[in-house]
Symmetry: D3
Subunit: 270 residues, 6 copies
């Protein structure tokens, strides 16, 4: 396993655990973070032995978002020419976005396990995950508005599909902090656990459940749900029909049906 | 009224009751089911006397989904040539999809009344209905994942518009069974009734309410809501303006206003 | 401040209060209403001193919707030639729609404060606002179905993005009246206040919170969330990157960071 | 081979020849035409032995478009209620459209061979074909404008993708008759032949060429080109990748490569 | 008829002649131009007696594009704050765009008659017209690239639908001047006339032809072709079916058929 | 300058010359080709000194398309499990596509200079370039159909936007070879040069012309034209307005205007 400076990554029982590992900085997202996360998810995508992914944060908090040092460094690169500054800013934002798009486009389900602060860029990150779970002490805030800017690495693009439009706007305009209970009520998280230990136990249990399914079927299911965020129903129907034209010739269907008949748990190849 | 083998169909008080009628097979969807449902909804669409539709299942359960015999028979048609197998599979899936698209595109509102098991293909079916209601004993599962396949007759395409994206993924990846309470909380059903009798009473009451409205107005309303699942707001505004350019010349508007003035219940032609 | 016949408009502390002001007619939307609202929101859009907007209704009710006199007058304009009637109707509907599109496209957040009746056209109006809040006595109904017509000034287009698809259809097909509690549960409103006084206090507090943020950041945030109702995630990411290429060169970012460092409240230019 | 009243259909050397066969009526499209064409293309789609289709008209002209008797009959069905008339008209138009959509969606390439008049509905028909060829005496006119109506069975929807937008508008607004030379210049036809005999020879030669290719490859190619009329480039790339994931496992690829190596003409199964 | 400073407008025989009238400035587009054109097309849209529009330029040239004085004045409004400058620029561009969108969305066909220079903003203007015709001395250039900017009032958005993608890029990247012959070859104009007199004669003849058709049918045809620049074929088919549900109940259809039977020229109401 | 095995790359006068350099293999696209082209265009995108790109082929031919050795090697990777084969094939095709998407998304204009054979994959490549120019001896063929497959690295997706739909289908279904004259007529190339020397001279002259323009303006122009292949006109207008809100604050605008006033040739920074 490669060593990373901003993350700790482990693979156990077909589950990759991607842990943001700068607890002394409240897991703030520094330059290394934005680069390493792309490599990690590239590795996950290429490694068929990984069947599910858990993203968590080391220490008491999930993450406080982008490291302000990064913004300061970016400001230092600005010159006098507004057009070329704009060109630089645009390309920088696109590059940061592509870090979380790597999470979004990962072929395996990604589960976020959230405790403590989940703020600013951390909301962008968990919006790019498949599902979100938290402990009772979690706190969420779309903090960018208080930095004098519109959030630009995914929150405003992905979160409205997850929580209601009305509440989305309130949270984005005010930056108001919400707790675990409200997060559950508006659909931001799927479940609240008592504490961080219970959270990790619970999320890994769900991840194991998923890792036991046919990886061909899980990948197809993820592709289709992600596709439907952006496409028409008729396009979606046509796409799954074309997809399954190949995938239903897979062994996994036969294995699953046989196990079902024998009331056994099926075992699928990676 | 035509006789069907997989359904029992009745028309009373402008309401068509379409009942899956293979209780001894837990209303599993066999070959006849997939063909007859198209004919039934063609008839509903062509019959102006039908103003609302209730879909239910005979016996203790709504439906256990696609009949595994059908899948076995399909498997038997496979040859050695992967390309031509793919062609056959793709066309077969498209044909199955078109059975539930007939429900989705039906010009009259379709209400699903669900008790007991609602599993696999049954979720695809109720996702194509306008509204879903259940009794307290209902149980829902996106079972396809356990067959080693991605659901391909509509669940993954239509359900994300109905329940939240986060919970959608959990249910689709794990196939976890959920009960009536959770179904209500995530918006899968609009209401839970104590038992099957109360369920049918309640759903028929709503259907009667709808059947008493102007059929021109109801059809326009359905067309617009369905259209908005897939289209932009500006396209939707333009579409309803064009639609109502014709439909507001209808008598029903005059009838409704007159009844309103006289504080009477209006009566609309089919 | 211009005088209006259907509205009372005030600007205090960067907040425009737009009050429908025909309480003796339950704030029914007459011809003046549809014209004046366009002028008012044009003024709001052009006036950088306005940073947030509250829409409310004078008296015991928010609004009973379109004034039936207007419909009668429109009926009187109809001639014998169906094609030219259709042309007239279509253009009239498009013009009415554009009144609420002016609310929807307003660059500043619009908060609706709703008490008593919110019926028919009033639902179209609040659907075009950013957020909705109500008092405990509020009552909502998509009343158009009882006028023998499909709602055509925005409800059917915008509301499905706000509340669940299943409940949307039930309310639109039946015209059923729902109360504040149900409105909160389905996400139609963000919060319920005890009475009208508490409602206005609460909504103005949120509006003040928003008015204190960077107007550049708030406008960008609104643009992006509205954009995402209709566009793909990849388009949204590209759009915000292009937007922020200019906007991150703004002073507001520097002001916000400086205030953050000094733990002070930042002050932003209009 | 089924007998038809408006068509003569033959299958030779894997090519279906669909000939409009009412030369005494200038091949006007009567009620039988609109129904039979659906059945014919259903048969073509289901019959793997058909690998290419030629559509032509018997006699001196291709077709004069919709039979005016049909319009008269439709007019006779109109009642007094404008709303219900609109409902009837809308459904009728959708049904007529579906006749040519069957041509458009046919999985095999459809070549139109056009001589003499090609007017009104005939333009709708050939716009739904893959390619158009004509003899030197051909004459084309979007005649609907002279009937006081906007063309509604496909010309205005499909033709702009084929000829230039500027010329499209001139022809549609004026109904001006154009000849074979101009048709070639604006891309309406691919080639002009001296006379009707040369036209049929030429078109059948192209059809035979196509019928000799892998039917799996031809079907995929058609699906993709048709898809690109309406979809984004990135969606198209993703779609062909998914399609070929199955289809490149076909024997045809091996057969083609082997023939290529041996400099022989390959033979593909249906 | 209102008097304008940048235009001369006449209405004769149901044809509005909109002439840019600053020949001493090569018809450069000044502030008055951008405002008046909106009023003029609003009037055209509202005046049913106008059935076709001809846009031309007084003097030897069509137009040299935007008046550089306007750009200078805009530059003078720029302050020091980059974010607020961006806000001002964006709103200014959107307002300029809306001037030509008024031309594009005009319900009546707009024919451009072009002689001499047609440069920069003039290309944006004629791209928003339905058809373009020119005299042999016409010269076209997408001049914005030489001003150090990307064209932003419509050329880059509308012209690719009219001329080929490959040539579009060459002209936009190089600003190369093309003559009438090349303009005809690439589909930028529909026809080239010998000189300016022949040009106006020819264009007015086409406009008269169009003005003699049913205005209901022409408006529907334009709506559909414009719609198809941006929409899917299936959406287009559905839209025309809904449109014609109203419009085929028009008298014009009856008038047209009766005239056709009697081999007379029909006369349609405005 | 990095050394490549399949390409020779030079940078002179702000123009990158990317030459496929396997003349002894008719420039067939081998594994190195597909990898190196991504690196090359990444370097072009990151190097502001590159302002235009010319793609050509060494020797007598542009390129014969994909190297059949690559297909053979891919075939060798296939296992027995159809589902996992499909997964491998799909990912492989997506990776090949991304090589040409790097060309398509390059921020600088890419001009293809084509002589001799331009076949199969070579058509995919030139379809991803901005403009195409050829010598009189050029020959083009969409050869994939003769390999028993649908073209899957971009031809079917991008070419229909460039040449007419009717001719597109004929060429794709038949694989017919076309010469330079026909390529010019259908818009596949912008110009035909007498021989290869004249071709390179001509194309470099155009590239130099482009390299002399403001790189900010050229990049914006390319972004907008590419955007319009896939987006609506209103989205395009909004996008350029947002883009130019930043870019019109660039120095280049001032430089260009000053040069224009002084009738000098402007010089722009990279």
């Amino acid at each position: 396993m490669t060593e990373y400076t901003a993350f700790k990554v482990e693979l156990t029982d077909n589950i990759a655990h991607v842990q943001i590992n700068r607890p002394e900085k409240i897991n703030a997202m520094n330059a290394a973070f934005w680069e390493e996360i792309v490599e990690i998810f590239q590795w996950i995508d290429d490694t068929e032995a990984v069947r599910a992914v858990v993203v968590s944060g080391a220490g008491k908090h999930f993450s406080s978002g982008i490291d302000l040092m990064m913004l300061a460094s970016l400001a230092g690169q600005m010159g006098k020419e507004a057009g070329r500054n704009a060109r630089l800013l645009r390309r920088t934002i696109l590059r940061l976005q592509s870090s979380f798009t790597a999470v979004d486009k990962c072929r395996k389900p990604v589960l976020a396990a959230i405790q403590g602060y989940c703020i600013g860029g951390a909301i962008d990150l968990v919006s790019a995950c498949d599902m979100r779970y938290c402990s009772a002490d979690a706190q969420f805030s779309i903090k960018e508005i208080d930095m004098g800017m519109a959030a630009d690495v995914g929150t405003l693009q992905r979160l409205p599909r997850i929580i209601g439009d009305g509440m989305m706007r309130e949270l984005a305009y005010t930056g108001r902090m919400i707790d675990a209970t409200e997060a559950l009520r508006i659909g931001l998280v799927n479940r609240v656990y008592d504490d961080q230990a219970a959270l990790l136990d619970g999320v890994f249990a769900i991840a194991r459940e998923i890792a036991g399914k046919s990886p061909i079927a899980v990948a197809g299911t993820k592709e289709m749900i992600s596709y439907m965020r952006d496409h028409r129903i008729d396009d979606g129907l046509q796409y799954i029909a074309t997809w399954n034209a190949a995938m239903l010739q897979s062994e996994d269907l036969r294995v699953a049906v046989a196990a079902h008949m024998n009331k056994q748990k099926p075992t699928f190849a990676d």
